[in-house]
Amino acid sequence: MSAIVAERIAHWFGSEPALDAIDLVVDRGDHVAILGENGAGKTTLLRILATAMRPSSGKLEIMGLDAFRERRRLRGRIGYLAHAPGLYPALTAAENLEFFCDLRGADRARVPEALDMVGLTPAARRRAGELSRGMQQRLAIARAMLHDPLLLIFDEPDASLDADGAELLAQVMKGRTTVLATHDQALATRLCQRLVHLRKGRLLGAGSRLRIVQ
């Protein structure tokens, strides 16, 4: 069964087309990387797949549900990492996660486990605003995992991450359907079975990793 079925998704910002008739099917358990230059439409596509925004036209089903009608329900199953970490700088790392546990109705006992997963246990009591950009990214990844999501939508998850970043991403993606956007083709090849290229809002190729590497 498919986790994501997108049919002719298009989006315009004013008169400027951002996405042009995107068709994309992602099977459950698949790891798909979206590659493309700046302004190719990666973030717009990911925001639509994460139900953070509605496209101008097209149809989107996520886990068999209409993504626009059932988006509140779907948000409980999606772990979304946006382009910006979106943390509260005055709250500590642990407080940031506890706050999002409260919003999701998740058990606060998951917080130490989530911090440990991203290697931030020693920084649990440090304010998010005092953390390095890489540590903030790790904290945002931990936040996206708090509710044990079935589907991960990650927008440039490797941004500011150190050498261990790819290892961390492989660990959190294990057993979960994942769509991620990145500029790093080597990372995409390492983490994903399928690579999808976007150029000026159009899908250029969607195939297996092996085919593209060859």
């Binding site: 953070a52 943390l87 999002f100 919003l103």
Partner: protein, 220 residues
């Protein structure tokens, strides 16, 4: 129950953030005191004129402090890109809105805790329980309306200009009824009970309307 828990979590987060950063409340406190000092020099205040002038000065200071407080409520979330993260939790929009409005209202109440004693000191008027009740009731309605419009304009570049244009016309009922209640509480003519009832009616009306509208403003 979950709605209340979420709203309280958001309010607590906003208050803790403000306590640690001290960005807004100290500045608002200074602003209202300065506004009162300027008004004190600008008007000829004596024991006869004070009950007529003080309510106007009180509401002017409160309205401008409110515009700043409510404007920051959503602007900070947008700047930090944290509002999207909150919305992506699937939490009900009405709960998110209620939490933000309660947080902003409590910050304005803190500002009023500076404003009212300063008013008593500079204008020589008596601060009664009735006056405090009228100001608090007006704060509820002004907060929900102010936060709704702040959420609407937060993404726009001209938000500082648009927020007063949208909020001020709808705050007028609170300023009129609140002004009457405060004047009556200070000993001038007017029906205090009727003005207070009117404030309660406006509060109920706008709390319900803004809660319903929050979904459309926050989600899209």
């Amino acid at each position: 129950m979950r709605t209340v828990t979420i709203a309280l979590a958001i309010t607590r987060k906003d208050l803790v953030s403000e306590w640690r950063s001290r960005e807004l409340v100290p500045a608002l406190g200074q602003f209202v005191v300065l506004a009162l000092v300027i008004a004190n020099f600008g008007f000829q205040i004596d024991s006869k004129s004070a009950p007529a002038i003080a309510p106007g000065v009180l509401w002017l200071a409160l309205v401008f402090a409110g515009l700043v407080a409510f404007g920051r409520a959503f602007a900070a979330e947008r700047e930090q890109a944290s509002l999207e993260a909150v919305l992506m939790t699937g939490a009900p929009s009405a709960a998110i809105f209620a939490g933000k409005a309660l947080g902003a209202a409590l910050m304005l109440v803190l500002c009023e805790a500076v404003l009212l004693p300063a008013l008593a000191l500079l204008f020589g008027v008596q601060i009664s329980g009735g006056l405090v009740a009228a100001v608090l009731l007006a704060t509820i309605g002004m907060s929900v309306l102010g936060c709704l419009f702040a959420a609407m304009v937060a993404q726009l570049r001209a938000r500082e200009l648009l927020l007063p244009l949208l909020a001020l016309p709808l705050w007028i009922p609170f300023i009129v009824a609140g002004g009457q209640a405060v004047q009556a509480a200070m000993g001038a003519s007017g029906d205090f009970d009727q003005a207070l009832k009117l404030l309660i009616d406006f509060d109920i009306l706008f709390v319900v309307l803004t809660s319903l509208a929050a979904r459309f403003v926050l989600d899209d």
